[in-house]
Symmetry: C2
Subunit: 278 residues, 2 copies
């Protein structure tokens, strides 16, 4: 199949154009053609209807690092593009129909608010094209736990845009952009608006894309039999199981799997900074 847009628009007749259109439409779809108004909650290709294909981890890391720098779209776009964009480059439709720039949304923890690390948001979103929550959640657990417990960045390309040789990696202990970035900046005495901080995030984009791709490939390989290694940290298990997620405890109000410690251990950063600032 090698029809270009002009050939399609000019119309080659039934067989050729039918085949071209078929490339757009997943066999699962039974709802509507692209030109029709959509019925509520129907979806072209079916829910989670796209097929995943294994990708080369090192190639994905390289694409992620490059994608981070593409028009400043940054971390979420970088990781997402490294997986879904690589599929689009290798397989065409339906992957090449995705509006990729949407993933810029995760830059700076969503429009610089410092919430979810964009690398993680981009990876989880990529997984969600292929698997519903019952299969996807364990993949996200695996990736999110790895991210928060690993000294990052590791990636150090020969053609790095900025040297980080005088910096040290840090363990984020969190999935939040604010904590992840601020911890690295504080440990290295480097400003959050600096080119070094941006380079650090570009490398985390490559690192996260690589780990996300390993999980992606393993899931494709083993399907429903895939099991991650994630176990909730002691703090989470203790706080959750004994009380804050135990129905009937009277204080089972804690939503989330983030490690409790960074915000509930009485650390220096958590003390009152509005009176007698340390």
């Amino acid at each position: 199949m090698d029809l270009n847009r002009r050939q399609i628009l000019c119309g080659l007749g039934g067989i050729a154009c039918g085949a071209a259109c078929a490339g757009l439409i997943n066999p699962k779809e039974d709802a509507h053609a692209a030109s029709e108004k959509m019925q509520r909650f129907q979806q072209a290709g079916g829910d989670f209807g796209w097929k995943p294909h294994k990708l080369d981890v090192e190639a994905v890391q390289k694409v992620a690092y490059e994608a981070y720098h593409n028009k400043g779209y940054a971390c979420g776009y970088g990781v997402f593009y490294s997986i879904v964009g690589s599929l689009a480059e290798q397989y065409g439709a339906p992957y090449n129909q995705f509006p990729f720039s949407m993933l810029e949304v995760f830059k700076g923890g969503i429009s610089d608010w410092g919430t979810i690390c964009g690398c993680l948001g981009g990876a989880a979103s990529a997984y969600a094209l292929f698997w519903g929550r019952k299969e996807r959640d364990a993949m996200v657990d695996e990736l999110f736990h790895w991210y928060s417990t690993t000294n990052l960045p590791i990636y150090n390309p020969a053609d790095a845009k900025v040297s980080l040789d005088k910096t040290k990696p840090t363990i984020a202990e969190s999935q939040l952009c604010h904590i992840s970035v601020s911890r690295w900046c504080a440990a290295n005495g480097i400003g959050e608006k600096s080119k070094e901080r941006s380079e650090r995030c570009a490398r985390l984009t490559a690192d996260t894309a690589g780990r996300a791709c390993e999980i992606f490939n393993a899931k494709i390989e083993k399907g429903k039999d895939w099991k991650g290694t994630y176990v909730a940290p002691e703090s989470v298990k203790k706080c959750a199981d004994e009380c804050h997620k135990k129905p009937g405890s009277g204080s089972d109000w804690a939503k989330g799997h983030m490690d409790c410690k960074p915000c509930h251990d009485g650390g220096k950063a958590l003390q009152n900074h509005y009176v007698n600032h340390p």
Copy 2:
């Protein structure tokens, strides 16, 4: 245009099928047809190439509440579908080609990790289909600040699935799912796994969709002239401007716009809960 999939697949000949295919392809596109492998960083329809159309705010709220409950896809899907799905229902392509179930990813603050509130992630992602960061960031600022400073939920439909008449709304003071949900649960003595908590989140989905739609409509109306009312809270301005975002201060390491207070004011929840638990 009322061709169904079967007609397209059977091939109606040049003119009809050419027209059907044209509905898929945005005039901005000059890169590739859907059936082709994608060139790196190219995008069907062009970056941020989709056209926004104004939507009815009350109708969007109603769709969001319904979408929250669709197959348990929840908050992020709910808000995103209420905008982009409504466009697909009213205008067809390209909106109806989006793989909507991907937005389930935000459920529970991304796979139950409690990070970004999914309502906010869904809204910001919808904006990012239409506007790049230079125009979009102010829209996100407006929505995120509203969310964290408003007593929610407000939405109370006549056909509510669960009554919340015996509960009180709360101000999240945060954009994070963990804090937003836990604050409401604690204030009301209600478990985070309860049907009341889920109903609370369904109503926040409608509330956030409504406010997101107001901002969306205003942006369409005024274009580059649109200005939000967001001003950073005193705590953020003081901490950031005087030090933690001031280049050269020696401690300019704080990424993000989230209100500093909930995690840096020495509150009871922030004290050491691993020794002498209160």
